[in-house]
């Protein structure tokens, strides 16, 4: 208990220090107008570097490997983009865009808004309506989110395997240590999510999937809340990740669906035949709206959390005075704590709703 308090105090202390350091540094250096939305969007989106501290060029970043599939694989450090040649180009309407032209192994490619494009014959990007027309090579880079994904997966593996090792070593005894902490969550998923929503004889099969989903979302949500490396990537607030997770739930639902499930869609019991032309499309759309809602819910919740915290901290930079930290830091701290709750809540909800959909798909007819 005392240990927990110390960790909490330390965490908030570090957080405040971090924020105020950033505040001072920025106040001294930033002469140009501070663009809040650009900063927030930059943070919330994926990147080919993991920015640690400091300004764009003098600052410290972890430059992540860029992997392109363009007539064979090309692997090089993103340093070749960020410290490449900065270009400015104007489109037909007179808007100007900045992009990085790659140097060295990145020659022939350019980075614009964290997307890799192939340069055209003139060695340039040609813009039309906000975005380049150039072709995009298949980008399998280890981006910030991918690295965060690896770290999260590794963390989950370490946690769960050490929990499994405890049981392997001690047999069916009362849990201790990491197992004592994690077991209630495992039991929560098994009993309150799987058993509660899926047929009693069939739920066993889905418990591993639900457990993986829950811990994957939870751990990655929490990692996203840590302000510095190895956290801070907005992985679970990325539409690609939530899309994939929702797709998994959809696939599990469809692959385990039984006759009864499809009967409810194509011949809903108790619905007059005359209404069928309306009901069938609605039910078919319903198959997809459920996982779609899962995708949007997680994405929006996590991204919104990041945006709120960043916006609150931005108050300091907008007003160019560290004194505003007295207001913005407690508020950001409060939201951070709230986000810890949201992190577990969203993971719980994702697993719960997945179980609900699977449960509906494997339900036997009661009539």
């Amino acid at each position: 208990m005392i240990g927990f308090k110390i960790v909490k105090a330390l965490a908030s202390f570090i957080f405040i220090i971090f924020v105020s350091l950033n505040a001072q540094a920025s106040v001294e250096k930033h002469e140009e107008e501070f663009n809040v939305s650009e900063m927030i969007m930059h943070h919330v989106k994926d990147a080919h570097e993991w920015h640690l501290w400091g300004d764009e060029h003098e600052g410290k970043s972890i430059y992540l490997p860029v992997i392109l599939s363009d007539n064979g694989f090309k692997i090089f450090s993103s340093y070749n983009f960020y410290h490449g040649k900065e270009e400015e180009v104007k489109d037909s309407k007179g808007n100007s865009y900045h992009y990085y032209k790659g140097l060295g192994p990145a020659d022939g490619y350019a980075l614009f808004h964290e997307k890799v494009y192939k340069l055209n014959e003139n060695g340039q990007l040609s813009f039309k309506d906000d975005h380049p027309e150039n072709t995009k090579p298949l980008d399998l880079s280890i981006t910030k989110n991918v690295l965060s994904l690896f770290i999260g997966a590794l963390l989950i593996l370490v946690l769960m395997l050490s929990m499994a090792r405890f049981y392997k070593k001690n047999g069916p005894v009362a849990p201790k240590g990491i197992a004592k902490f994690l077991e209630p969550f495992v039991i929560l998923i098994r009993d309150d999510i799987a058993k509660e929503n899926i047929d009693h004889h069939k739920y066993h099969k889905y418990v591993p999937y639900l457990l993986t989903i829950f811990f994957f979302v939870w751990i990655n949500n929490l990692l996203g809340l840590i302000p510095i490396f190895p956290g801070g990537a907005n992985l679970t607030g990325n539409i690609t990740v939530t899309f994939f997770l929702a797709l998994c739930t959809l696939l599990v639902t469809l692959l385990s669906s039984n006759k009864n499930y499809w009967k409810h869609i194509f011949a809903t019991p108790g619905v007059p035949i005359a209404l069928m032309p309306i009901m069938i499309p609605i039910e078919i759309v319903g198959i997809f709206t459920k996982p779609f809602a899962l995708m949007i819910r997680l994405f929006a919740n996590m991204t919104a959390g990041h945006i709120i915290i960043l916006a609150l901290i931005s108050i300091i930079f907008i007003n160019k005075s560290a004194a505003w930290g007295a207001l913005s830091v407690p508020m950001a701290l409060f939201i951070s704590c709230l986000e810890m709750l949201v992190a577990v809540l969203q993971a719980y909800l994702f697993a719960l709703l997945s179980a609900l959909f699977i449960g509906a798909a494997v339900e036997e007819a009661h009539h």
Binding site: K45, N145, V146, L149, A153, K168, V173, P208, I239, T240
Partner: protein, 164 residues
């Protein structure tokens, strides 16, 4: 728009990592953990059932013990009572027998005394008869010692006869 556009690279890595994670965790973490948790739950349930069963058995045993003790007490009481009765009966019987025996003895004694007495009396009578005869003889001898006396006696006897 970037914010809501899925990115193929990230999708690829997410898919790969998630599927690997699902596979590895299922095989090496979830299955062993859930098995152990289930086993433990079963163990606890069994232990509780056993405890309940044992408790009931104990109660039954106790009831049985009480019954046995009660029965034993009853048997003991019965035996004691019987023994007491038997003892009393024996004593009574002994007493009666002794009484009868003593009565018999007394009777026998009486009889023997009576017979002894009659024998003695009979003997005495015979003795007395003999003695009287002897005495009578001696007296007669004396009476008849001289002729005078014989004559007197004969006279007396003759007188007696005359009188008759």
């Amino acid at each position: 728009m970037d914010l809501v556009t899925p990115d193929f690279g990230l999708l690829f890595w997410t898919g790969l990592v998630f599927c690997l994670l699902l596979f590895v965790l299922t095989k090496f973490a979830w299955k062993p953990i859930l098995n152990m948790v289930n086993e433990r739950e079963k163990k606890i349930e069994d232990a509780l059932l056993l405890a309940e069963k044992t408790k009931n058995e104990m109660l039954e045993l106790k009831a049985e013990n009480d019954k046995i003790i009660k029965e034993a007490n009853a048997t003991r009481d019965a035996i004691l009572k019987e023994a007491k009765e038997a003892a009393t009966a024996m004593v009574d019987a002994a007493k009666n027998k002794a009484k009868i025996e003593s009565q018999k003895l007394v009777e026998a004694a009486h009889q023997s005394i009576q017979s002894e007495k009659s024998a003695a009396i009979a003997e005495l009578k015979s003795h007395v008869a003999t003695l009287s005869l002897d005495i009578a003889e001696k007296v007669v001898r004396g009476e008849l010692a001289s002729d005078d006396k014989q004559k007197a006696l004969a006279d007396k006897l003759a007188g007696d006869i005359n009188l008759n």
